[in-house]
């Protein structure tokens, strides 16, 4: 039912009134109140017939219109109080309608802009971890992190103790050698985990040399290291902007 759709399209009594005024092609400053009131009441009546819930604001406006209509029908008071300017009973309603109309018109402009600008896409920030190697936000720090951190230090230490590192190794590993071997590894696969490098190795010296080689490669920006959160496995990635 087309009328149904139309009725529902009104945002409120002011919207409906503006529609009636525009349809009647009358001056908003000089509304033929009797005519408009009748039309307004017809609409309300139709809404009721169609079993639509009529919001209280619509009914309130109907009452206001009727009040204005009756005031206008009253004979003008004889000019006893000449000093008092005659107030048009429609004045307040007109001001409201004009105010509302401005925003309603602006809202169509907004809608036009929205249609254009909602087609615009933004990008997410780049992961800053790739730009900052050793930063953890203080705001994200929790007691849990603190506890886990300490625990991992303790367990690391206890493992070291168990392994009885009292042997002396020959200086067989150099940072240069290690850089070369890591580079070879990276040529074969684009990424591997940091701990993969230490698999089956016990020598503290080799661990240190490997670690320093990694640091050097980071500095050279040959590799990128990634870690989702603290104590996650560290991923070593070939820095794609550098060819190896």
């Amino acid at each position: 039912m087309p009328i149904n759709v139309k009725l529902q399209a009104f945002e409120g009594p002011l919207d409906l009134l503006l529609h009636l005024i525009e349809k009647a092609e009358v001056d908003i400053y000089d509304i033929p109140i009797a005519e408009i009131t009748d039309q307004y009441l017809d609409y309300i009546h139709m809404m009721k017939q169609l079993d639509l819930e009529v919001a209280s604001e619509f009914l309130l406006m109907a009452a206001t219109l009727l009040e204005i209509k009756s005031k206008m029908l009253l004979p003008k008071p004889k000019k006893e109080n000449n000093q008092e300017e005659e107030i048009d009973p429609r004045e307040e309603l007109i001001q409201k309608l004009i105010e509302y109309k401005k925003y309603k018109e602006f809202s169509t402009l907004l809608k036009e802009k929205l249609i254009v600008y909602e087609k615009v896409f933004y990008k997410l920030p780049e992961p800053i971890e790739s730009y900052l190697t050793d930063y953890t936000s203080l705001s994200g720090v929790t007691v849990d992190m603190l506890t886990k951190c300490f625990q991992s230090i303790l367990s690391k230490n206890s493992k070291e103790k168990r392994s009885n590192v009292r042997e002396i190794y020959r200086d067989t590993f150099t940072i240069e050698d290690r850089i070369i071997s890591i580079t070879h590894l990276l040529a074969a696969k684009p990424a591997f985990y940091f701990d993969d490098l230490f698999e089956g190795r016990k020598s503290r010296h080799e661990i240190i040399v490997t670690f320093m080689a990694i640091l050097e490669l980071i500095k050279q920006k040959t590799i990128i290291i990634e870690q989702e959160k603290n104590f996650d496995r560290i991923l070593i990635r070939r820095n794609i902007s550098f060819s190896i």
């Binding site: 604001e57 004009i98 401005k102 809202s107 907004l110 600008y117 896409f121 990008k123 730009y131």
Partner: protein, 174 residues
């Protein structure tokens, strides 16, 4: 650093940030005064537009941000997941219009202009981060007051609230 290099660095910075970067931040990172930065960015904006590049720089409240051009959205939607775009209802648009011009404004003041209850429109606009609760008004009941967000500016392609077109007859009325 020559101007070409400055532009190149700004380009990197805006790219990395994703979000809007203020003139002030750019100024401190580059160690160049804000007015020069602004001049350079305006050149960049023109350049991107004139060349019909796939990305453009927009200004929002004296901050700058990269975004795509509306013309390309059809292709972009083919590549990325279809955007769950839900437009705004007429009621929400009206409410937003009033808040944009009259901010800071209370719910009661909005409803007085619209002539209808506006709770649901206000809730929806807040949910979409187009408006925010900017505090409470002094006075009886200490009602909540609402203002528009930067997100509002972005979604409607406005640089700042001062860029809102004057309302017709506004001068006549006030």
């Amino acid at each position: 650093m020559d101007i070409k290099e400055i532009k190149s660095v700004i380009e990197s910075l805006l790219f990395v940030a994703g979000d809007a970067v203020s003139c002030k931040e750019l100024s401190s990172v580059l160690n160049i005064d804000e007015s020069t930065i602004k001049k350079i960015i305006n050149q960049m904006i023109d350049y991107y537009n004139d060349e019909g590049r796939g990305i453009q720089i927009i200004e929002v409240n004296n901050s700058f941000q990269f975004c795509t051009r509306p013309e390309h959205y059809e292709y972009i939607e083919r590549l990325v997941k279809p955007n769950t775009r839900q437009g705004l209802s007429q009621a929400a648009l009206e409410t937003l219009s009033i808040i944009a011009y009259k901010q800071p404004i209370t719910k009661a003041q909005i409803e007085a202009i619209r002539g209808v209850k506006s709770d649901s429109s206000i809730a929806r606009l807040a949910e979409k981060e187009l408006i925010f609760e900017a505090g409470r008004q002094d006075g009886p009941g200490r009602p909540m007051i609402f203002c528009t967000t930067d997100n509002f500016l972005k979604l409607f392609g406005l640089k700042s609230i001062s860029e809102l077109p004057p309302l017709k007859e506004l001068s006549e009325e006030q």
